[in-house]
């Protein structure tokens, strides 16, 4: 291999790195913990509700009209490094609606139950990983 070939290879390598740097989004992942957001409450009894990774029970002072469960996920944020984020899986944001089921006819409200009415997927969040940009 002569000097000319070596110079050409070096130039190609430098060019490739430069091009990669230009195309690289320079992002990394940021962990966001799971969250549950409750809607307004109806006067009702206790609640028992289970979802993968979360169990809610005996929420006092009423029955939420709905709750929104956002599973743990990652979001992309700027990074100083030549990295990018890659999606590895998708999780659903779940909306659960509740209603009071009153079975007891008495002034003592021990018979009202907060029961699950519907459960729906209302959006998605991504599980992301940080990966180096391809050179």
């Amino acid at each position: 291999m002569n000097v000319r070939s070596l110079l050409m290879m070096l130039f190609a390598a430098v060019f490739a790195v430069g091009a990669a740097a230009q195309n690289c989004p320079k992002e990394r992942t940021l962990d966001v913990p799971a969250s549950v957001t409750f809607g307004p409450v109806q006067n009702c009894g206790d609640i028992n509700y289970r979802l993968p990774g979360i169990s809610l029970s005996t929420v006092p002072n009423g029955c939420p009209m709905f709750l929104i469960y956002t599973p743990p996920h990652q979001v992309a944020v700027p990074s100083d490094n030549l990295t990018q984020v890659v999606s590895t899986s998708t999780s659903a944001i779940t909306l659960a609606t509740f209603r009071c089921q009153t079975r007891w006819l008495i002034i003592i409200p021990i018979g009202s139950n907060c029961v699950l009415d519907q459960q729906k997927n209302v959006g998605v969040v991504q599980t992301l990983v940080t990966a180096p940009c391809q050179l």
Partner: protein, 494 residues
């Protein structure tokens, strides 16, 4: 609708009306109890006239002048009905509650109503007979084992909760009338002190005190003590935060502390290490427009996403909609996605979110926030959600925003609209060639399963089945089709 189901519907309606009437009656009854009541029963030992006289003198007089009365010979024994104790009355009410429920479930409404009437009378007697019903009920709650497998325990707890609430209410009303809060304050103090004891007391204490007017300045040390326990993970933080917020609200409402004083206190608490105090402080300051920028700046500098998430939820629930939207926008750099908070706000004020979405679309910026805004508007009842979603499908260049618009259709009962929305997003190469985005489509499609329209599931399922799905989505799709289609098989391709 069959005759049977009509009758059942009528029965349920009657049950509802009666229940509502019962609650109104209970409220009125509780208010009535605020007036003067006969004194509490004398101790069991003081049932003879002489002993009662001795007890009266002993209670009311100075010890130095107390007259000692020699007991007389006991009177002849006569058959009398013993006065039921507090515990016996609670037990009786719990039994009546269960019996009433059984009658109601059997649709024997006449008997259920009669039983309900008996419960009201017995409850009234209990509250009139015991002017320390709150303390007695609290003692019973504190003594309940957790977990308690006795099937009557929920009924007993229900009775005791109503007793506690009734007692707090009547003492509070009397206190307002005579400007003397000592009796209600004492009961509240007992309750707060006992709360860390058991799960029942935590739940019942929160039920009795949160968002109610009973916590006052005198209880501040006890509430802060719960906050400290929560920072040591010995008490639920959400409950501690809620009680602290209730306390501050009450202090402001009654004038025990001015808004400025509370804000200054909150500023001090921002620097505190305890998360409950910080959350409460943030909320207090966010409510005051003068301090809002300061809190947001503090949140950004601190970078604590857990607190930021809680604040986002609080703002979405409690702040005026435009102020809440400002807070969510300001938290954007810290939390790029806030779907739960936007959905909560969208339930309250969809128009505000819809306007913000249109503004961002006009400048074609912040697709993540546009996604959350659309998700929020979709929570609103009525047509505004699908109208904006259709507008997004027609105009928004971001495939991810369009995917969120698709969800707005797929959470409604209109399966035809949902099918059109899914087909619309699948027409976009950026979606149909991207397994991650197809995951979202399959999850939206899953909502249609409950609608039960076989033809729509068949058509959309066939289209999805031919796309490059991720293994997880392919498995999810197979499950949906298996459950929804006859024999789990597609119809003949058209």
């Amino acid at each position: 609708m069959s005759h049977t189901s009509k009758a059942a519907t009528r029965s349920r309606r009657t049950v509802l009306i009666l229940t509502t009437t019962g609650l109104v009656f209970a409220l009125a009854f509780g208010i009535a109890l605020g007036g003067p009541r006969p004194p509490a029963p004398a101790p069991a030992a003081s049932t003879t006239p002489t002993a009662a006289a001795a007890a009266t003198q002993a209670r009311g007089d100075d010890p130095a002048t107390r007259v000692v009365i020699v007991p007389e010979a006991p009177p002849p024994v006569v058959a009398t009905t013993a006065e039921p104790s507090f515990e016996q009355r609670v037990e009786e009410l719990a039994q009546i509650a269960r019996r009433t429920a059984e009658l109601a479930e059997q649709d024997d409404l006449a008997a259920a109503t009669a039983s309900d009437q008996t419960a009201r009378e017995r409850f009234g007697e209990l509250m009139q007979r015991f002017d320390d019903a709150g303390e007695r009920g609290l003692a019973m709650l504190a003594a309940m084992p957790v977990p308690d497998l006795d099937p009557l325990t929920p009924a007993r707890r229900g009775v005791l909760r109503v007793v506690l609430q009734g007692e707090l209410q009547r003492r509070h009303e009397t206190a307002l009338a005579v400007q003397d809060h000592r009796r209600v304050d004492a009961l509240v103090s007992n309750l707060v002190d006992l709360m860390p004891g058991t799960e029942f007391l935590i739940a019942d204490g929160e039920w009795a005190l949160a968002d109610r007017p009973y916590l006052r300045l005198v209880h501040e040390p006890a509430v802060l003590s719960l906050v400290r326990l929560s920072s040591e993970e010995r008490f639920p933080r959400s409950v501690a935060t809620r009680l602290l917020l209730t306390l501050w609200h009450n202090l402001q409402a009654t004038g025990e502390r001015s808004s400025d004083e509370l804000s200054r206190l909150a500023l001090l608490m921002l620097a505190d290490g305890d998360p409950s105090q910080r959350t409460a402080a943030c909320r207090q300051l966010l409510l005051d427009a003068r301090y809002r920028p300061l809190v947001l700046s503090w949140l950004r500098e601190r970078g604590d996403r857990t607190i930021a998430n809680e604040i986002a939820s609080l703002a979405a629930r409690d702040l005026p909609p435009t102020a809440a939207l400002d807070v969510l926008r300001e938290l954007g750099p810290l939390l790029p996605r806030l779907p739960g908070a936007y959905m909560t706000l969208g339930f309250r004020a969809p128009e505000v979110l819809a306007d913000a979405y249109r503004e961002l679309l006009a400048s074609n910026t912040q697709p993540s926030r546009r996604t959350d805004l659309l998700a929020g508007v979709a929570m609103a009842p009525g047509e505004i959600g699908v109208e904006l979603a259709q507008f997004a499908l027609d105009n928004d260049p971001s495939p991810d925003v369009c995917l969120q618009a698709m969800f707005a259709f797929c959470t409604r009962r209109d399966v035809t609209g949902a099918e059109a929305a899914i087909n619309r997003v699948l027409d976009d190469e950026a979606v149909r060639n991207d397994p991650a985005r197809l995951d979202a489509v399959v999850m939206a499609f899953q909502n249609l399963e409950a609608g039960g329209d076989v033809n729509v599931i068949d058509r959309v399922g066939q289209r999805l089945n031919n796309l490059p799905l991720s293994p997880a989505s392919r498995q999810l799709l197979a499950g949906i089709l298996q459950r929804a289609l006859p024999g789990g098989e597609f119809s003949t391709p058209r």
